[in-house]
């Protein structure tokens, strides 16, 4: 019966993909884990990981399996959520000292952060669909953003850009839209939950691709 189900999902163009791996990618401190927590709390009632204003708080890939979300028509979408460490081109332990860490802890964090970046890049080959989480108060033209999106495009992975932190006054969604006009962009605040209903609707559209 399983093969019949698979065959039906392939020929039924109206169906949405089920049980895919949804990756959260982006630079450090863009709010990937805050968004992962928001999704997990909304649909599972529990958080996924800790968040912090200090960059590279998430230094290991975190996976939450079998999240089922529903849209307003009652349709369900099931996926495994993959929260990845922020991708950066530089990591300096001295930057962590400025946040009040001692040298030993800062060096450990830097070492773990470099490994986290490597793991994030390796996982590009594992994910099926990706939400690129960008901080909408920051310049979107960074090379890290361009490299992430370019690699996803090369792998033919459907992408939605979540322009996060729209609750902040410095947020500029138009700037994100202008930087990446070929991708759908949705402004959200993962922290406050603003526009999350629209985000979930976009997720259904993305899963159909």
């Amino acid at each position: 019966m399983e093969w019949l189900k698979k065959l039906w999902s392939k020929v039924n163009f109206w169906s949405v993909r089920q049980n895919f791996k949804l990756g959260l990618y982006g630079p450090p401190n863009s709010g990937k884990t805050t968004l992962a927590n928001r999704i997990c709390v909304d649909w599972l009632g529990t958080e996924l990981g800790s968040v912090s204003p200090i960059p590279h708080e998430t230094r290991e890939i975190q996976v939450k399996e079998s999240i089922v979300i529903k849209n307003k028509d009652g349709k369900e979408l099931q996926f495994n959520l993959v929260d990845t460490p922020g991708i950066a081109t530089r990591i300096d332990f001295e930057d962590f000292l400025k946040h009040g860490m001692n040298e030993k802890t800062a060096k450990k964090r830097a070492r773990e952060a470099t490994k986290g970046v490597i793991d994030s890049i390796k996982w590009l080959d594992e994910v099926d669909t990706v939400i690129v989480v960008l901080d909408s108060t920051m310049d979107p033209f960074s090379q890290v953003n361009v490299t992430i999106l370019g690699n996803l495009q090369a792998r033919n992975i459907p992408v939605l850009i979540a322009a996060n932190k729209v609750d902040l006054r410095r947020s500029k969604i138009k700037r994100v839209e202008a930087a990446f006009p070929q991708y759908p962009v949705i402004g959200i605040s993962a922290r406050t939950g603003k526009h999350m209903t629209d985000f979930y609707e976009q997720l259904f559209k993305l899963a159909k691709r």
Binding site: T89, R90, Q143, V144, N151
Partner: protein, 122 residues
Amino acid sequence: MVTIQLLPYDEISGLTSIGRIRKLLNIAKQDKIVLLQGRLDKAEEAELIKATMEEINKEFKGIELAVIQPQTSGAFLGGVASFLLGNRSGMTVIGPASIVKKIKKDPNKIELFTQENKKRKR
């Protein structure tokens, strides 16, 4: 003092992906800013970031990276230019993080800020 090394694409065109990444990274590790004529492909950019992370230590803090692409007036012309020039079009700037504080980029220009005097170089 800041040292800038210009690198024609011909110097890396015959190398494997790993060879290109190593060459660029080795120059950056010598505290030089590389101006590469052309660009790496997207997979190589990601590999460059990975290789950079593997090399980070007390002295080497990583890199700043920016790629600038020439604007073309349409998809067709862009496609033709891309077909003819391949990865030779555009320019790549790679600098060691200990020297380059930030590379600010919009589609048409690159501004490079150094750590030493925090003054705009270009």
